[in-house]
Amino acid sequence: MWKIITGVAFPFVHRRIIGSSRLKLFSLEKRLFLSDAYKCQEAWERRLQVPVLQNIKLDDLFQELDSKFQNVGKASAIDIDLFANAVRDESYTNELEELLHKLRLSPNATDILPSTSHAVIRYFFSLGKYDQLLHILNDRLNFGIFPDDYCCGLLMDTLIKENNYTGAAKVGVLQMFQEDWSHLITSHLALYSCHMYLKNPGPWEDPAHTEEPDDGEEIKVRVKYLRNPYFDDHFDLRDPKLLVGKTLATLGATIPDAIGWTYQLVGWGMYQKWDKAIKTLEKIIKGQQKPAIFREGVEMFADTLKELSQEGNNSSELKEKFSHLLKELESLGLVSDNDLHEAVTNKVKSVVNSKENEAIEQQCKVYAEWETLKQRLLQEQLQELTKQQRLAKVQMEKEELLKREEVLFFFDNEEKWELAIEKKKVFYRKRYFGKRKKPRATDDKYIPPEVTASRS
């Protein structure tokens, strides 16, 4: 028995030792970009100290909101914000998604608070459900959750640490859709994630679910107006190469050094916008900045040119132009042989480290602002409710008084009542008891006479 006990206990102990050492290594080597302090965990937890949130029962709140949506068609955005902030464990993911979807479809979609998006992202982030979170973030029309600059940084950092470069690149692509690279931490982390994604490309979209078997029957759906096919080169993009290419190209334009130029060129190449690529090359050559571009980048761009040859038409001219421009780059010595990966990592680290503390302070201030905003909105909602209740009460009292008046002054108004009764009388037509006419008998053999014009 002793042997069995040790046999059972030993692996358990063994696992624990291994687990903790892995944890130590994990924390030692993976301080990569953002530190743990960036998570602002204490400030975030403090929001739960608000009395409103402490007294909430999540199931009841969900039932109430659900019934409000069904009966009235809309629920207030603050209540959904309360729910999103109060959820903690895994069992509420579907409910949260449902509520967000219903809010998005209601007229209150514009009232959604920024703290709701933040809370939802942090909730899924703490559960580690990145796939579900990315699904929600990508379906903007149905959920309306947009990651703010802080959340972008947090998500990308964690996904990079887990070596999920595809996920991190997806978050970068989301930021590209908003065309907003003003926040330095976000833009540099996006640069790093796209860079690492190019090194380790993985499957981008979830495998499509199997379609229903084709019966041969067409389902006809009635719509008011048919849509003409339209591809806007922005929200409709699905191909990961084009998406990451566009992200890199727009991002590289905001970074004024060799890394920026490299990725601008690579980006335009991946996005297959050859005229923009030509313009970029010409600008680099004109700029005469040494070094202007990394050799790895030029090679990546040359790879993307293979796509060009498949396009046909004036591709041969473009190819010649490109080879000419690339040779010019070489000859002017603008190409540097430094390690692109090292350069990118160093740059991102330096920028992120310098901006991190500022971002943390900013975020704590923002939490405080959100608290005051929520208090104010809750107060307003309460006032609105009490006003409605008072008005309803007044209305009821008015009706009561009217009824009493009718009773008290009945005999004074007796003539009026009699007239009113007369007016209400419904006048029915008398029944017809006489002869009914027969319908005209049509003669099948009747041929109408031909009438010709006659002058008489």
Binding site: P107, E218, N228, Y230
Partner: protein, 192 residues
């Protein structure tokens, strides 16, 4: 089972306003949206979004937008509301880097009613004779020309308005055909 959509055809090219505005953070406030059918004019026409209010879900979903409207190079002095036309799948979002080049704010003019229409015009000849005959019969003043008072409907988008009391109109309504825009249609008419 393939789905076949049945409905009215349109000549629109683009997306509905909700599809554009719902994809943007903060509902695209400050972004510029362009209608494809207005791109047929040489002057730029666009809408710069100022405020967005969502409406209940329907197919296709509408949204109420308050925007600064520029139509054919003329900027509307007041903010314009776009609600009933937001279902049209005719809008496209202008990327931020193309805004400057597309909008051409230097050559923009404020929309003001430049055509000043006359307050009165001369009566048609037969009616004029009848009025004069009537006046003669009643012993009134026959020397003064009878003038017809004009009533014009003034809309927000129009370029013309009725002249005020002291103003001189700059659009003249002449009796007869005047100067037609397509003279070839009137080539064979013997005009006195």
């Amino acid at each position: 089972m393939p789905i076949k959509y049945v409905g009215r055809t349109t000549s629109f090219k683009g997306k509905t306003l909700w599809e554009i505005v719902g994809n943007l953070k903060n509902f695209g406030v400050g972004r510029i949206v362009v209608r494809s059918t207005f791109e047929r004019y040489p002057e730029p026409s666009y809408l710069k979004i100022c405020k967005v209010q969502a409406l209940a879900n329907e197919d296709p979903r509408k949204v109420r937008i308050l925007a600064e409207k520029v139509f054919r190079g003329r900027k509307y002095p007041k903010i314009v509301e776009v609600c009933s036309t937001s279902y049209k799948a005719d809008y496209r979002l202008l990327p931020k880097d193309e805004e400057q080049a597309y909008c051409k704010t230097d050559s923009q003019v404020v929309l003001e009613k430049v055509r000043i229409l006359p307050r009165t015009i001369p009566f048609p000849p037969l009616l004029r004779e009848m009025i004069l005959a009537d006046r003669r019969a009643k012993g009134g003043d026959v020397t003064k020309e009878p003038e017809m008072e004009m009533i014009f409907g003034e809309t927000r988008d129009s370029l013309s308005r009725k002249a005020r009391e002291d103003e001189e109109p700059n659009v003249m309504f002449e009796p007869g055909i005047g100067t037609p825009r397509s003279p070839e249609l009137y080539a064979n008419i013997q005009r006195s």
